[in-house]
């Protein structure tokens, strides 16, 4: 996936990649990465949890504006469950 991000970025498209394995991101080095150590097959969270899914999308899109250099890996340190997610507000990046 990081390889697709790199191809898009090289073509002039700003990318942010969500990954479950930090080690792969460290090797492939996508331009901007959000690492969430959650079960595979659930990059944005649990089924039916729109607040969790949108929180990840919000966090990732913000990185399109705040990442200052290529190859950074961001970790919100959110737990898989036992985390209270609210619908994110403030999309004015």
């Amino acid at each position: 996936m990081g390889l697709i991000a790199r191809a898009a970025e090289a073509a002039g498209i700003a990318t942010v990649s969500i990954v479950g394995l930090r080690e792969i991101a460290e090797r492939v080095r996508p331009p901007r990465t959000v690492h969430l150590k959650w079960p595979f097959g659930h990059p944005l969270g649990e089924p039916g949890n729109a607040a969790q899914q949108l929180s990840v999308i919000h966090y990732a899109l913000e990185k399109l504006y705040t990442a200052e250099e290529p190859g950074l890996i961001f970790e919100p340190d959110w737990r898989w469950r036992r985390e209270r997610y609210a619908l994110p507000e403030g999309w004015d990046f």
Partner: protein
Amino acid sequence: MSDFDGLRQNLSRMFGQVLSHVPALAQTWGRTFESVISEEVPFTRLQKPLREVRIALATTGGVHLRSQTPFDMADSRGDATFRSIPSATPREDLMITHDYYDHTNADRDLNLLFPLEHLRDLVAAGHIGSLGTCYGFMGHIEPPHLEALINETAPEAARLMREEGVDALLLTPG
């Protein structure tokens, strides 16, 4: 398919399932990439506010339209091709073909992996400018298909995005 190919395919499927549950093995798998990646990381700064940005979505989770040819599960080295998914595609027209991770929950709620509906809502609310055509790939790609992805299909998808005026891309794994 020869007996050998069948065996290789079954082993590869098992490997994918094991990877899903044993991250240490997946870390080792990550080293496969080392030889094909350049040091330099490309970087493009987004020059407009999100409310004006045209965004696209790409996943390596094997998402495609039911009407499209599924990803090739018979080749244990993966499938480097991609499927274009129009931004207005209804949820019921989409499916996942990918034997190398457990997509039971993604089948129930595709938004946890391919958040097309969330992005459409964000566009409708005026938070994001517009949504471009989205792209389904398959992860778990090994040589020689890895080279095809790097040199052919990923740049082709990027070219299509540029042609369509896409500014930003959100990527999710399977």
